[in-house]
Amino acid sequence: MRLSALIIRLISLVVTFFGVAVVVFVLVRVAPGDPIAMMIGPGASPQDIADLRALYGLDKSIPLQFLIWLGHVVRGDFGTSISLRESVTEVVFGRLPATLELAFLALAIAVVIGGFMAILAARWRGTATEAGVDLFNGIALSVPDFLWGLTFILLFGVAIPIFDISGRVTPTLELPFVTNFFLIESIVRLRFDLTLDLLGHMLMPAMALALPLAAVISQILKTSLKEVMHQDYALIARTKGFSETYVLLHEALRNAVTPSLTVIGVQFTFLIGGTVIVERLFSYEGLGNLAIDAVINRDLPLIQGIVLLFAVIFVGVNLAVDLCYVALNPKLRHG
């Protein structure tokens, strides 16, 4: 990427974050519900309520509140959670690893399933195999992630209880972890018993998040692969004596992945959005679950912090996709 492109990119980042900050800030304040009323007992006097409002700065006008908040944010201070009485930064970053692990596990599952399906369908295109893959794509895509979640809970949590469907890890286990990246740390510490327990909890929500994305990947990559298999260079590879499977994997795949990548990136941000409800379904202690609690408690600073963090994640994913694009396409490398 050239320097000018990079600078434009950075400026657009700042604009994006500012926009998100404004929208969230205004939205949570004009929405019905009063954070003070949520935290105070029924016997409080009007004076107590007014004091609390002043304490959290809620007595000032919205533009002034925004400026004060923004001033703190640029210094890295996101305020104190009203419901948890802890620093928003600490609460949010404490939960982030759980969501990241879940989202990336779901992404990995989606890429493996979707990629495998696409390759199968492209290798045996025009046969019953492709029709079967199309059917899978149709079903997986038309059912939203939270319905998959409910289905999995009923199937593998209630009917045939082979997976844990609640929480991130069995609560009675002793955890030696120093970070909140439990899954990664359990692998690093070679505590595979804990890895298994974590995966047992994560697999169902991750599958629920992964299925729609797997269908998107499968559909787009399949179309792209079929197109590339008609390119002249794929034809040349066949005249060299290479098999259909070899041509698909060695000549077509890499060129087919590139156009699919942007769409996968966008869809992955949808998946991260999906964690909010799916985490709630599975009582998984991640950022999404925290976001719902924050909304229920009208915890304004916490909502603002979480939404901004989601914005950072979305922007980060898009940037990562662009970088992958450059890495995969030699034409873009010399800018």
Partner: protein
């Protein structure tokens, strides 16, 4: 002349769902080692279909209804997929029409030139590299080592066609099919590439099937010619006869439609309707003979 290496016998091909229409009508072509055979015809005549049949990579929508394609005496259609790929990979190579789309954009030239040598011919990586580099020199590419490391988009169209020619000859095949290899190139480059292919063919003693719609090119490099119309070979002869005494009305019409610098006053003549009419009748006759034969066969079975 030695025995032909490529022998196509009465090859007929049709669309699977295309009814009675034929894409190739009993086409027969033989090319001996060291010989250059021109295959001429207008677009849609079935030239590329013959090219693809030789490599056993006809489109799925197309089926062979009769005939044989023999490489060194072995009929491709009697082989299993795996055997066919091996026979073709070792013995035949294609020089494609459009060098801009015939190279994989995400692979370096090195990988694209050596993949067949190591994986199909079983050369070691070092042998394959040495041979491919040698061939790049032979096709007069300056700085072969740099080109070897390049991606296709870093090379000009003419360079890419040279790379593809080198790649085809690197496998030391007994047969090369050149499918309109100069059509997509600049006029200035066309001549060089044509000369290069002719030189390489002579030096390596390869059988060359040269597919083109350009009679001028045929006159320059071919010894024998087949003229194809609607999938039927209407005339097959040596080049001298073709130009001095063309036997078929269509061939004469084709020649009249070729620009001549030495006789500019003769306006370019399109192929006249009566010639097309005669051709259609000729082809309909062949098709009728088949239909009758098939009816007779069906009668015998009944």
């Amino acid at each position: 002349m030695s025995a032909p290496f490529l022998k196509i016998d009465r090859l007929s091909v049709r669309l699977r769902r295309g009814g009675e229409g034929r894409l190739l009508r009993q086409a027969s072509i033989a090319v001996a080692p060291g010989e250059v055979h021109g295959l001429v015809g207008e677009s849609g005549a079935g030239k590329s279909m013959i090219g693809r049949a030789i490599f056993g990579i006809l489109p799925r929508a197309v089926e062979v209804i009769e005939g044989a394609v023999r490489l060194g005496g072995t009929d491709l259609f009697t082989l299993s997929d795996r055997e066919r790929r091996r026979l073709v990979g070792v013995n035949a190579a294609l020089i494609p029409q459009d060098p801009l789309t015939a190279l994989n954009p995400s692979k370096r030239i090195e990988a694209q030139m050596t993949d067949r040598l190591t994986r199909i011919l079983g050369l070691s990586a070092a042998e394959a590299k040495a041979r491919a580099l040698g061939l790049l020199e032979e096709v007069q590419i300056r700085e072969p080592a740099r080109v070897f490391r390049s991606y296709p988009h870093e090379l000009s169209g003419g360079m890419r066609q040279r790379v593809l020619i080198a790649s085809a000859f690197a496998a030391e095949p007994r047969l090369i099919v050149a499918d309109e290899p100069t059509t997509a190139l600049d006029v200035t480059v066309q001549k060089q590439i044509l000369k290069l292919i002719a030189e390489m063919q002579r030096r390596h003693g390869t059988a060359l099937l040269f597919v083109t719609h350009n009679l001028g090119v045929v006159a320059k490099i071919c010894q024998r010619v087949s003229v194809l119309y609607a999938g039927k070979i209407v005339e097959q002869t040596d080049v001298a006869t073709l130009f001095n005494a063309p036997a078929h009305a269509y061939t004469r019409a084709l020649m009249a439609a070729t620009p001549r610098y030495d006789r500019p006053e003769e306006s370019l003549a399109p192929v006249r309707p009566e010639v097309i009419e005669a051709l259609s009748q000729e082809i309909a006759q062949t098709d009728n003979i088949w239909a009758e034969a098939r009816l007779a066969a069906a009668g015998r079975r009944a």
